[in-house]
Each structure stands twice: as structure tokens, then as C-alpha cells.
């Protein structure tokens, strides 16, 4: 894959018209992170009801890759159970957009929102779950994403 081929129709569209973009004022959990190297910055808000992500929105600033991946990720997560969302892998996101072979420096753009999502869940579960070991695994996962 030539690096330029990543800019296909879908990516350009999502970057201009991201889905699930915005804030949830009465969220049950919110998390923010940024990419120290390029300045991309993402917030994710979620409503969680009965272990189910009933609503999810993101906002922030980022490149086309970042915006498209955030759109795809939130779309995947919406309506799912926490356990399923926990298991979303990077290839679930990258595959949806044909970005499996993205170069290292751009992987961070693509996966920033997944990292934020995992940290958000970590912080939510930390407050609502007994099994702290299980929760820590989530943090490890988030930290080691890229």
C-alpha cells in the first residue's frame, strides 16, 4: 500500500463529516488524551446503562485519519455491552478503513481514540467494579496500544 492510498473517499468523507461528533452533557464517563508528538487531541463522552454503552460521542482536533478512526470506533462501540467494547482491537478499527499497514507515526493518529475509549472504560469500571485486577489489565492494554 502506498502511503497516499490511505486517503480514500471514506476517510476524506469522515474527516469532513465525522459521525458521533460532539459532547454528551450528562455523560456517565468522559476521558481526554492527546498525542504529545503531533498535538492531536480527543475527548470521548459516554452514557452507560446496565453495562451497555447507550450513547457515545467524541470531540477534539485531529487529522483525517484520526477523525475517520474516531468515527468508525464510536460507531462500533455504540449500543454494545462493556465486555464487547473492551475487546475491540486495533485491527477492528484499522480494518474498517483499510489502514492495517499504516506507518508507525500515523498509527498514533489512528488509535488515539481507541486509547481514550479504553482509558474511559478503565476509569468507569474502576468506580463500578470489584475486580481491580481485571480493570488493571484494561489499563495495560490501553497503555500498550502504541
Amino acid at each position: 500500500m502506498s502511503n497516499a492510498d490511505i486517503y480514500h473517499e471514506m476517510i476524506i468523507d469522515y474527516s469532513r463529516n465525522p459521525i458521533n461528533y460532539g459532547k454528551i452533557e450528562d455523560h456517565d464517563v468522559t476521558f481526554h488524551d492527546s498525542n504529545p508528538l503531533c498535538g492531536d487531541s480527543i475527548d470521548i463522552d459516554m452514557k452507560i446503562d446496565n453495562d451497555k454503552i447507550t450513547d457515545i460521542k467524541f470531540h477534539g482536533k485531529g487529522c483525517a485519519i484520526c477523525m475517520a478512526c474516531s468515527s468508525v470506533l464510536t460507531e462500533i462501540a455504540k449500543g454494545k455491552n462493556i465486555d464487547d467494547v473492551r475487546n475491540i482491537s486495533k485491527n477492528d478499527v484499522l480494518g474498517e478503513l483499510g489502514l492495517e499497514n499504516l506507518q508507525a507515526v500515523r498509527i498514533k493518529c489512528a488509535l488515539l481514540s481507541l486509547k481514550v475509549l479504553k482509558f474511559a472504560l478503565y476509569s468507569y469500571l474502576g468506580k463500578h467494579l470489584k475486580n481491580s485486577q481485571d480493570v488493571d489489565k484494561l489499563k495495560e492494554e490501553a497503555t500498550s496500544l502504541y
Binding site: S2, N3, A4, I6, Y7, I12, S15, R16, L37, C38, G39, D40, S41, K61, G62, C63, A64, I65, C66, R106, C109
Partner: protein, 414 residues
């Protein structure tokens, strides 16, 4: 000195990397010189010659190699003194780069002289390395960090400085002589005059200025000056901190270790003479030698010729870029007030995407916050694209940049 014309025509062959192709066999067009510059054969060979013929630890041993290595190392100190026009070689400290230089000042001067309630002044267009060390210092000391604002033309608002100096609490004013994002050349003479009148020290971050224009520190009359070798054709890992001697004498040691001591006893130690008091441990000898070669190279071309060459390239680039629909250039267009650094945004396309698409054409520019997030906030953008020029760049390369932007327009349907 050769005529400037021939000089610049012949320069490219001194830079091996410029023969490289990248991606799909595209010739490299390197336009990220504000980040780091490429190295001429002369610099690379100075380093290899050092390792192949003279390598030894310096200052202490009496054998032949050590004598040669010491001489090579100390000769660069003289070259630096000459290059920035200061008469006292003891005022020159070798460090890793601008970042270490500024941190050294924040620790070894700041921790002694800055007290609760004092003010350190920096500017809105500083690099993180001229902001964060002062945040750390002022937070530790209960002092305050204040900013000289920037107007919409990308120039500093000196009334802010007047107001701050008026408080009588300012200990240090620190600013870059050239912004690494906008290319703005600060009005150093005015700033320093105001500070002198108020009895306030000045630190200049010269990382961007030194490689691109003649800098005369004696004439500037500031108190601290920092720059990096790798942005001026020199190797990575070496930079310079210059400090006026009368101030250097009031500074505590920073790193403790070999070479910076006079006598070490179990429970107390006395310090070596300047500048060695501030050069603890085995220094980066080979890269000091390499920096010496870079200074020779630049001096041979002449800093005024370099500035002239960059003015031509920059004017040409600003003209061409201004014609690109939807492209916005930040900062002043008055070429006498800026160096060869151009930050821009292209319609609604994120700078990363711009950089990545034109990288396919072999063109290397930077995108992002350029370690200047305070400035990004001021400009109300999250990032910019930045092209920056040096002695080996040509108008043809700028044409290629412009052409590659057409591809961006096509991909993003602008």
C-alpha cells in the same frame, strides 16, 4: 570567499543525503531545516577523522592522542567564540543542545537567584524548551511566569514587556531571536535596551537565528545565549550555552562529576575554573569537533550570504504560496523581519494529511505544533504545516512543493 552565486550552486554536492531518493524513487526535497539540518561531507569527515586518528579522553592524560583530542576540542571553543563574537572563551559551555542550555540556566542560575514573588518573562511564540524549564522553576520557587504577547502580524507586543518591567519584580526576560514557527526575527535590540534600563537579565534562545544570520553577541549585549549544533550543519548531541562571566561566577554547579571539580574530599569539594565547572563528565568530544567543522563551513560561505540566499528563497516561496487558493500563511510578509520558515494551513486539510500526501512526492516538511503549543493556542489552530529552508535549497524545490500541494487539493477535493 567565492562569490555567493557560485557558492550556492556548488553547495549541494557537499551534502551526500541530497542524492537520496525516497518513497517511489522520488528525489528528496528536504524542507524541514528548522527542525534539523543536513550535514556536509566536511562535518561528517571531521567526526570520522577524529575517531580514526585522534580519539582519546581529554584534559587529563599526557599521551599524544589525549593531547591531540584536547587541542581539537578546545579549538572549537575558540571557533565558537569567534563565530558569535565574544572575547572570553571561558564563557562558552558545551551542552547537548538548546534545551539543555536553557535548563542549565534554570537550574544553576535560577535555583539560586529566583525567589518567591519574582517574575520570569517569556513570549507567546517560544519553543517548549524556553517555556517548560521556566514553568518548573517558577512553580518550585513560588515565582511567576508571564508572557509577552504576539500581535496578529506575528510580532511581539513590547508594551506587554513595559508593563511587566514596571512591576519591578522581573528577574529575567527570555525570548527567541527567531521564532521556529513563524520565522519572526525578534527586535532584540529594543527588548534588551528596555531590560538593561530596568536592570533585568536577558536570555536569548538563538536556536533558529544562529544558523541563518550573523549574530554578534557582544553587540546584542544580552546575558545568556543558547543554541544547537544540529540546526547549523553540525552533529546531533552538541550545543552551546554562553553566559556573561560576571553572572557565570555567581552560578552554582549543575552536574557534579569528573572535570568540573578542583579537589574532591569525602565531605566537601571545590570547583574547577570556568567553563569546566559546568562541563561535568566526559563531554561529547567527537561532536564538538564536528561542530567546529560546521562553523568553518558556514564561515566560509559567510552568514550574510546565507541570509541573502534565504531571503531570496523565502520571498519566492511566499509569492508562490500566496497564489495557492485556500492557503493561509501565518506571520508577517515583511521579509526583513523574518527568516526562512513558513508556517501555513491549506483550506480545511489537517497539516498531517498535507505532510503525508506530499511526502509521497519526496517532499519533507513538518506538520504539527512544532513544540510551540502556546503559540498554537494563540493562533487558535491545533497545528500548522511548516516549510523551512537552508543553504542547499533551491527555487526548483519550492516549485515542487507548490506542485505537490495540487495533489493535496485533488485528494481532498478542494
Amino acid at each position: 570567499m567565492q562569490s555567493a552565486q557560485t557558492t550556492f550552486e556548488n553547495i549541494r554536492k557537499d551534502f551526500p543525503i541530497l542524492k537520496r531518493t525516497v518513497r517511489d524513487n522520488k528525489p528528496l526535497v528536504y524542507l524541514d531545516n528548522a527542525s534539523t539540518t543536513q550535514k556536509p561531507t566536511q562535518v561528517i569527515e571531521a567526526i570520522t577523522d577524529y575517531y580514526k586518528n585522534h580519539n582519546a579522553n581529554i584534559h587529563r592524560a599526557v599521551y599524544a592522542l589525549a593531547e591531540e583530542a584536547t587541542e581539537l576540542y578546545e579549538k572549537t571553543r575558540d571557533k565558537v567564540a569567534d563565530f558569535i563574537n565574544i572575547s572570553n572563551r571561558e564563557e562558552i559551555i558545551f551542552v547537548r543542545g538548546t534545551t539543555e542550555a536553557i535548563n542549565l540556566v534554570a537550574y544553576a542560575w535560577g535555583r539560586t537567584h529566583v525567589k518567591e514573588g519574582d517574575i520570569i518573562v517569556t513570549t507567546e511564540y517560544e519553543h517548549h524548551s524556553n517555556i517548560v524549564p521556566w514553568q518548573l522553576l517558577t512553580q518550585e520557587k513560588g515565582a511567576k511566569l508571564e508572557y509577552i504577547g504576539m500581535d496578529d502580524n506575528g510580532e511581539l507586543i513590547l508594551e506587554d514587556l513595559d508593563k511587566l518591567l514596571g512591576t519591578g519584580k522581573v528577574k529575567l526576560v527570555t525570548f527567541s531571536l527567531m521564532s521556529n514557527v513563524l520565522g519572526t526575527i525578534s527586535d532584540a535590540d529594543k527588548i534588551i535596551a528596555k531590560c538593561k534600563a530596568a536592570g533585568v537579565f536577558t536570555l536569548i534562545d538563538g536556536a533558529q537565528a544562529i544558523p541563518h544570520m550573523k549574530v554578534d553577541i557582544e553587540k546584542l549585549d544580552c546575558d545568556f545565549f543558547a543554541f544547537s549544533g544540529h540546526k547549523m550543519l553540525g552533529p546531533t548531541g552538541i550545543g552551546i550555552l554562553w553566559v556573561r562571566k560576571s553572572i557565570l561566577e555567581t552560578m552554582k554547579p549543575f552536574h557534579g562529576g569528573g572535570d568540573m571539580i578542583r579537589e574532591v574530599h569525602k565531605y566537601e569539594t571545590t570547583w574547577n575554573d570556568l567553563p569546566y565547572k559546568f562541563e561535568a563528565g566526559t563531554p561529547n568530544i567527537a561532536d564538538v569537533v564536528g561542530l567546529g567543522a560546521a562553523i568553518d563551513y558556514l564561515s566560509k560561505i559567510g552568514m550574510d550570504n546565507i541570509r541573502q540566499h534565504e531571503i531570496e528563497l523565502t520571498s519566492y516561496a511566499i509569492d508562490k504560496l500566496s497564489d495557492v487558493k485556500g492557503l493561509h500563511i501565518y506571520g508577517t510578509k515583511d521579509i526583513s523581519k523574518r527568516g526562512g520558515v513558513i508556517s501555513f494551513n491549506f483550506a480545511d486539510v489537517h497539516p498531517h494529511d498535507v505532510a503525508q500526501i506530499i511526502d509521497e512526492e519526496g517532499i519533507a516538511i513538518r506538520s504539527g505544533h512544532h513544540c510551540a503549543q502556546v503559540l498554537m493556542e494563540r493562533l487558535d489552530v491545533s497545528a500548522t504545516s511548516r516549510a523551512s529552508f537552508y543553504i542547499y535549497n533551491t527555487k526548483e524545490e519550492i516549485d515542487k512543493l507548490i506542485n505537490s500541494l495540487n495533489k493535496v487539493a485533488k485528494v481532498f477535493k478542494l
